[in-house]
Amino acid sequence: MASQIHPYRRPLAGHDPPNDVPAYRSTALRHPAQPLVVIPQTLSEITGPVHGYGPVGLLDGDLTRQHDGAPVGERIVIAGRVLDEDERPVPETLVEIWQANAAGRYAHAGDTHDAPLDPNFSGAGRVLTDAGGRYRFTTIRPGAYPWANHDNAWRPAHVHFSVFGHSFLTRLMTQMYFPGDPLLALDPIFNAVPDAGGRERLVAAFDLDVTEPGRALGYRFDIVLRGRDATPLEG
C-alpha cells in the first residue's frame, strides 16, 4: 500500500562546506572524489531516533559539576534554541557537546598537546531540548590549541555540537565559536563554510540575558535544522 511521506527540504548548494578543502589537510585522502548520488527520500530517511540516544542524566547539562571539584577556567553558560527552517521549535531532541578544557586540552588519549589535563573536567555534556526547543549548558570556556595542519596552526576556541532533530535527515554535527576571536580568520575548518553568513551563524553571541549574575557569562547559540517541504510525496 502506498502512503504519503512528507520530505525534508534539500539544503541549497554551497550551504555546507565541501569535503575537498586543500587548506584542511586531512580532507585530502578522505573526501569522496565521485559526486554524491541524488536519491529520493523514503521512510528510511525521514524517520530517525526520536529522542536521540541513551538516557540523559541530571548533571549532564552542567560540565562544571561532574566531578568532586570545580574545573579551572572561566565559567560560562551556552543557551539557545533548536529550530527548523520554518522557525518551528524542535522539542525533546538530544543536543550533545564536547570540548577541550580551559588550557586547550581534551580528556582524550589521542590529544598530545603539552597542556595540563584537568581532573575536574571531562568535557562532554548532553541535554534534551524543552517544549520550546530550548537548551542550556553550563561549562567553562575552552582554550585554543595548536594542531598539525600547517606551520603555527591554532584552532580557535570552539565547542563541538551534535544535534539529532526528529529524523535521520536533520542530524547535524557542527562547532560553535566565540565572538571576536582573532584565530577565526586563520582557521581552515571555520573558513571551509563557503558564505560569510554561514560562518557568522557558527559564532555564538555574547548575551547579558543568558549571563548568570555573579556566576557565569552567557552566550547564545541558536541552531537551525532542515525543515519540511510543503508538498507531501507518494512514499
Binding site: N19, R30, A33, I39, G48, S162, A192
Partner: protein, 186 residues
Amino acid sequence: MLPLTPAQTVGPFFAVLVPERGRLALVRDATPGERIVLEGVVRDGIGQPVPDALLEIWQANAAGRCNHPEDPRTNGRDPAFDGFGRVHTDARGRFQIETIKPGSVPGPRGRPQAPHLTVGLFARGLLTRLVTRIYFEDEPWNALDPILAHVAPDRRPTLVAAHRGNGKYGHAIVLQGRRETVFFDV
C-alpha cells in the same frame, strides 16, 4: 525562512562523548528477527584504515517498521528494538555490528525496498556527514530496489555487504579512490 546552521567536522576527539569503540549491539535478548553480525572496515583514498570514523546506523525492525511516529503502519512495532546505534572504528578501522536483518521498508510510490541499513559517517577530515546504505548480498530483492536503481550498475556492489555464511556479513566503506563507496545526496 531561517538559514540553516552549517556543518563542521566531528574532529578527532569525539570519543570524549562516544566511548563505544569497535563493537555495537543493536539487539536485546528479546528482539525478534534473524540475527546477523556485520563486520566492516573504513578505508581512505590509499587503502589505509580510518581509526577515527564515527558510524551511525538507522534501520527498520524485522517486520520492516521504523521506530518513529511517522511510520504509518501501526502493526509490527517492536518495543525491544530501537533501530539506532553508533560506534567508532577501532585502531584498525574496523567495526562490528550485531543486529537483526531488517524487513522491507516501502520506497517511492509504495515500491518495496530491499533490506538495508541507513548509515551516517563522520570523521576528522570530513567537513560534512557522508550518507550511505548497506544492503545484503543474499537478498534477491536487491535487483528490484528503487534506490539502488539510481546508482550506476558498476558501483552498486560498493553498497552491498558480502555474505560469509552463518549470519555473517563483511563490508568495506571506502572514502575515496578505486571502489569508492557510493555516498548519497538525500
